[in-house]
Symmetry: none
Subunit: 252 residues, 2 copies
């Protein structure tokens, strides 16, 4: 498989173990779907299905409908070759601790060959030691040491986001295409600007000096659209007309 | 300041505009605090303060208590030199679109010198065109094109996470290159521009219509330096003088 192959994301299971609040299950489903993940597995949820889960899922009802419900984590991980547990830093656990980008790269690498899982524990108690023992590594989201308690769905969102970024190959996000003015149109604009500023006696036409350079820098820093050049030239023309053919507002 | 200086995060405002659901405000406060952000600004929230906000904030009650409530986005951005709006991709907006890591780098770079803001719109309608016109750039979270609707607090979580990763030194961030005009100086410039264009009869003062919006977009896409604002206002004044007190070059 190649990067950005949808089958890679389809091989990633999001596993929520012993979730207390059904709203969090729905919010997690929404978070997953925004990042293109669809395989949700619930281990012994307190309440499911549930109207609050449906409400929080918003447009991700299909993720809830297709969710697998298991009684044990071992069952949820059947067939996977890599399972990473999401946990705050724990000094009592001797395991490899990965950052979210490292975890995303590992999961996607492995997902080329087989299903993999990312496992989230209970909202209050996290993953139990028994649950962690079924994982081949830990993922920790670097957080504020004074308050590291991400909401369950927020943690699902961050890790799903990192999975999608890795899947996208961190490709540069394309800039919006504007109908940019050509170099020729820009030069005509600068000539018009310099002429108009001369007529306004804002600069000396014989020695435009640094002013034109500063104005060129300003306008070249942003790419101007054709329409914007037309607006600016319209303003210049209005100012030129005001100077050259004034109406006598205060006739003497 | 050096990377990982807490003052950098303290210079970043999270601005939530016209939030409908108080629970989202609380969840956003929690998301912020997990990543070390503390400055929450609310623009015209539907309901605040509120018990549901408190419940969703969990251990981040202090972020809610210290939140600033404003009536307009312009007020919320007072004193900032860079404001980035969070938006899904929009083909109708001509603006620089940044990825979350790019946005984090830009905000932290600028936060070395002055307050900056990350602006989130209403849950349903997002940021209005008027709100976007007050931002100097857009941030888009790369999402599933078939379902890109992140929950508000989830979007706050992802961007706060990226800010923290950048702050922790995971990315090189640029130094602020220019002595940027403040939001207040930019607003004064736009008032001057609108007045001058009215005097030049280039726009109807009663209905500036789309023209002012287009000009705002043009100038907010690039960050103007204080000196550049002074030059542009000098040109406007010269044009106003030409119109108001014309010399009769061709006396009749």
């Amino acid at each position: 498989m190649t990067p950005s192959d949808p089958k890679l994301l389809a091989n990633i299971r999001i596993v929520l173990a012993r979730t207390s609040h059904p709203g969090n299950i729905g919010a997690a489903a929404r978070a997953m779907k925004t990042m293109g993940l669809s395989h949700l597995t619930l281990v012994d949820p307190a309440v499911f299905p549930n109207s609050q889960a449906d409400a929080m899922a918003s447009g991700a009802a299909d993720v809830l409908e297709n969710a697998t419900v298991c009684t044990t984590l071992a069952e949820a991980l059947a067939g996977t070759t890599l399972a990473l547990g999401v946990s705050a830093r724990r000094r009592d656990i001797v395991a490899e601790v990965l950052t979210p980008p490292e975890a995303a790269a590992r999961l996607l690498g492995e997902a080329q060959a087989a299903p993999v899982a990312l496992v989230f524990g209970n909202e209050t108690s996290g993953l139990s030691n028994e649950e962690l023992s079924l994982c081949q590594g830990l993922v920790t989201i670097p957080a504020n040491p004074d308050y590291s308690s991400l909401n369950l769905a927020a943690a699902v969102q961050v890790l799903s986001y990192e999975l999608r970024q890795a899947w996208l190959g961190r490709a540069a996000w394309p800039q919006p295409e504007i109908d940019a003015a050509s170099g020729d149109e820009m030069e005509k604009f600068y000539v018009h600007l310099e002429t108009a500023l001369g007529e306004l006696e804002f600069l000396n036409p014989g020695s435009p000096g640094k002013l034109m350079l500063k104005l060129r820098r300003l306008f070249s820093r942003t790419r101007l659209a054709k329409e914007e050049v037309n607006i600016l030239r319209g303003i210049l023309t209005a100012a030129q007309e005001a100077k050259a053919a004034p109406r006598n507002r205060n006739p003497q």
